[in-house]
Subunit: 312 residues, 4 copies
């Protein structure tokens, strides 16, 4: 089923499992999907811009997409197709949609600057991938260097019915969510789904501001899902209590570069993947960092035994 | 007294108090210093790169420095003197040291790129300010765009006896602290003080890695001081418990741009300054943001009544 | 007299003369003004963003401005007042206008990103310097990192009557001149003066596209003035012949970093200043570079004996 | 035959011919190779970083490489393989070398910062592509944002025997060539080939400084080849006379973005390709720009009738 503007909940940014020889571990891909399903995610996102996508060649990227989509079954899969040029973007989009993906996600390259450039870039994307492919705007200035004003996002949304979601990763960004929801209320922009990133660091308030959920890869997506659920049910303090219990680890995992090593290590220990191996250029946990993660997990086990009891 | 490599504890990044007409509020400057003293800080840092320094003209910057130094009495004051050119840097340094400052802090401009450029830049700084002025390297790639390898910091430290401190704000940066302390242990670098920034977001582990303290402006510097004290006394869990209690607010305050508005608002409510006014370009808290800060303070009052009871 | 939108011809970017001990050479400043006057310039620009402005402290900048304005007499002087903050911008603007400057020039800082940010930044500038001070937009993405769409320049021009000139330094930028002149013809933007920079590298065509002249510092401003005059009189081939004769040297002088050393060296040899000394950080001509400049000047003497005979 | 450190002359950056429907025009690829051969080039470079490489998908890139290599026969072909990740780099390298390419060219991504990062990046490249594949360092800070100190280039050259060439595109860069040749003379670095880029804007002096030739795509590669030949034979004034005749057009073609449209237009008119079509995002010549190119070509025809008589 194709992605649409009613998407909500956790679309987890999935890692790419490798074995210790650096090959994609397809069995772990299946296991990982089941793990995420068990965490209550609403969908998966693969081949994210900052993740391990550039470490796959084209045929690997396609094979991995096919495997994940098949394993995900009814869970929608969003595929990152950001690329330096439109040819590669189109090639991967066609392959992903053929494989059954729900939609694609696109961040602009760092050379895009003015409002007109940003809007024009997404015009060209739609020409390249086709107007029938649902797409997600990835708005991540810290990584891309491109700042998109709320009004520019509105221009893109209004120009392209196939734009169904914003991956919100501006920083700081709480007011941006509020502004976009105001646009919807005043009738100047149609409704889209807003899922938030930034490692989940502000998820507690983002949902209150109007976000529909999270698109991030924190190693406890079950916590993210529960925080969203609690907020939707008006249990504000419970939502914050749970979120705050995870914040020390979540913040530790959000460190640029190192974060992926933390995340894969915890996912391996939770049984989601068989190895936390990365392809070069790989970040590695030093012995000290590893013991810091252990320490954080032990403390988490006391504050959230429901999800972290295994680390006590 | 001049700054030296034994500096430790909290050197709080002080705000610049303005009145509601945009004038520097010198009485609040005095009051603020007393507030910080009461929080147990070991020193103050003013005119920081990301702060309000560019909003002062030269004579204001000098007058504010004189006022703070006088109020601080025995507390050492570090003055940020980063500037697009060496003439302004020298001018402010001379005025600051004449006023009784303990030392100055310098970040390189974004045009500095290779290892040789970075080291050469600090050579030129020392020529400009004089070899007798103690200085702090501000290592803040997220803001400056300049990445300093540990080996480059070592080159600067070894070349210049007047380099006595690193303001560590690399991101992620825990391993960098460990590496620099290893340099000291293997005898390849003399000891310097390392105080950490990044809004304190990793202070809990930074001290464990060998940092001597924090140079940051979180509105509860009393918490920072206590965490450092607990860590120095081996009370690890107590240190983390206290830190974790503040993490939700600390993280909220660390939002780029908006953070200063949060900080000044809390400092005003704590009685440290009379007004949270900013000069243009000012970040402003929306009504929603203001209520989010209230909410975080109320929750903090429950977890750290010692410092935040007033917000219950 | 104040700068207005009818400004045309060469507003030469003046160097800052230092003596060999690094002091501002005020007598050379006088001599330099006379040299430029003899070259037929229409005005002068001092304290430019990429030039030597950051090497002066505030009092030096003001003293130099006063000296140049006095020497310039009826020639209008534009003063660069770009600064990291509005306090310093206002301070220098007030001093410059008090000294008799014709107007000021402002480039945005690199942190300014979206169309709204750019327009909003100039709103704040006008608040800071006062709506009665004529100002020049410096549009120089290669140095500032800020790209201004033609529509944004129009917004600023329409919002602020005191915006009277664009220093056009976008790259490539011929179409931008054409677009802005089209805005004027279609009535959507009032007329402003457009002077071009980029070391004059495209001056031959820029005038044909509608530029009113050049604001650049090439060491033969007499050539720039004559090219503009020839173009205004319809002598297209003569204009290009003269321009092309200088292009090899002009291109050599346009090298970033090194260019200032080339320029000052030639100006010294032309008698405009007594020393080509720079303050740190200084670019220096190697012996080879020096002989390359000599070679280019000898060749120029053959192609433009009117201006370069002395170098034969 | 594999590329080695004795490479010299013009390695022309070839365009990618498209037909008016946006398909690669393989017959034009053949014709273009013959055109370049007739211009006296020593080799070809395809899929350059700033060129049209990102507009091809992987299979197109491989097919185009195969076609050009076959047509080139004894002329060596260098293939640009810069990529966001090592998997794609390896995939394209294997395909290119299988097709008979002489070597590959690699620029670092913009996230690479310190000296150690740069050197480490090329270590990882050699691991990815294999130590038996000759490679070219592309040193182009204006596009990549990565500044490589001469000492870092030396580290890479000394660490990897398969590094045989530097594409020198630093700006300004004349001293860098001199420094690297000094390293060779003092025995601290083995000899490599240095070919220069930057559109040829400084080729006249680069050869005098020790460059072995040019790797750039100016639409008159026959001029580049002749300038290099004249310099090698000590005919300095003749070399500069010829270079200066082309400088007005060469400078016009060097405009970022627009340059490719100029180049393809001239190459089409010279019969090298059938169409000057570009794939999106395409730069287009306005009617005015087109007439400016005509004007420059007519003037060139007078100054260099040997190569440009057709445009009189």
């Amino acid at each position: 089923m194709k992605l649409n503007e009613s998407a909500a909940g956790v679309y987890v940014i999935a890692v790419t499992p490798f074995d210790d020889n650096g090959r994609i571990d397809m069995e772990s891909a299946d296991r990982m999907v089941e793990f995420y399903r068990g965490c209550g995610v609403a969908g998966l996102t693969i081949l994210g811009m900052m993740g391990e996508a550039p470490k796959l060649d084209t045929s690997e990227a396609i094979a991995f997409t096919q495997r994940v989509v098949r394993a995900a079954q009814e869970l929608p899969v969003v595929v990152g197709v950001s690329a330096p040029g439109f040819a590669a973007m189109r090639q991967l989009t066609v392959a992903a949609m053929d494989a059954g993906a729900a939609g694609v996600m696109i961040a602009p390259p760092g050379t895009v600057r003015t409002d007109d450039h940003v809007a024009g870039y997404y015009d060209q994307c739609v020409t390249a991938i086709g107007a029938d492919v649902p797409f997600v705007i990835q708005d991540y200035p810290l990584a891309s260097g491109v700042v998109m004003a709320p009004g520019v996002i509105r221009r893109i949304v209004q120009a392209h019915p196939s734009c169904v979601m914003l991956k919100h990763e501006d920083w700081p960004g709480l007011e941006k969510i509020s502004t976009l929801r105001t646009f919807e209320r005043d009738g100047s922009m149609r409704h889209i789904s807003i899922l938030t990133g930034n490692g989940g660091l502000f998820l507690d308030f983002e949902v209150e501001r109007g976000a529909d959920g999270a698109m991030t890869g924190y190693a406890f997506p079950d916590m993210l899902a529960e925080v969203i659920r609690l907020q939707k049910h008006g249990e504000r303090d419970a939502a914050h209590d749970l979120f705050d219990a995870h914040l020390p680890l979540l913040r530790y995992e959000q460190q640029p570069g190192l974060g992926l090593a933390v995340r894969k290590s915890v996912l391996m220990r939770r049984g989601a993947i068989r190895s936390d191996a990365q392809r070069a250029p790989a970040s590695r946990l030093s012995a000290t960092a590893r013991s810091e993660v252990d320490f954080l997990l032990r403390r988490l086990a006391r504050r959230d035994p429901v999800r972290a009891a295994a680390f006590a």
